[in-house]
Amino acid sequence: MFKELDPILHSQVRLAIMSLLMSVKSAEFSFLLENINTTKGNLSFQLTKLNEAEYINIKKSFKGNYPLTTCEVTQKGIDAYEIYVKSIDEYFKEFKNNKK
């Protein structure tokens, strides 16, 4: 039977955030905004959701007079992402088998 996908990750923006953060140690809010097709408000909202699920850590600091938000994926987030990708992989394998 096909595993149910993690509802936290099964959202376009949150999955995009996690996919980007997986390949780096940490990234600033502006980097994520540049590369993910969404609004500032939505990105902020989705980051909070991921932070609440403890998939990412959000550090808030200041650069000069400007606030700086830096995000970093946690071990829990890495595990969840790996399970999610595995589930997707299984889904496509199952799909192929059913086609045959």
């Binding site: 376009q12 590369n35 609004t39 909202f45």
Partner: protein, 203 residues
Amino acid sequence: METQQQNFDSFDENQSLQVIKEMIQVSQKKLKNDGVLFILWGWIIFYNYISWYVINNIVTTYQIYKGFEYFAKGIVVFAFAFSIYYIFRKSKKVTTYIGISLRYVWISLIVCLSLVNMIIFNTIHEFNPTLQHPIFMVLMAFAVVITGGILRYKLIIFGGIVFGLLAYICIYFSVEIQMLIEALAWLIAFIIPGHYLYATRNS
């Protein structure tokens, strides 16, 4: 309201695969090494070795000799300043594991070069460039091969291997010829891969 809506929008497995693919492409493209520091240091050190050979083997006036010397020192200072600015500017928005690894490799190389210099001087009690030069080149070759491995770039690995072989060849020649051999090594290990990385940075 629209932002809330987007959060609860579910999407199918094909779309999620598409998102993962797109983000991998974005990070590959955005975080790709553009070879700027390879080009910068490659040309500067290449110029320094060639000019050192020229001013020491072709009769020039004292003024020309000093002019070459100050210019060579000046561009090295410029390269250091530019490298610090460039690394800082690049790591401003994102910190990558590749960037951190490369920083460790090159900072430890500088420390190792200084230590080797001190060890040689305290062992043989003289400044011996004929010996020192190939040893420095071997350490440099080691760092270049590791860099190529971290960046998964075969041309840099190949350049590092050639650098090491040329270090061995150096021991059969005088310091003057060693300078030319090292200039060639920098051309193969830094300038050519650097320009190739730069040319393919957006591909």
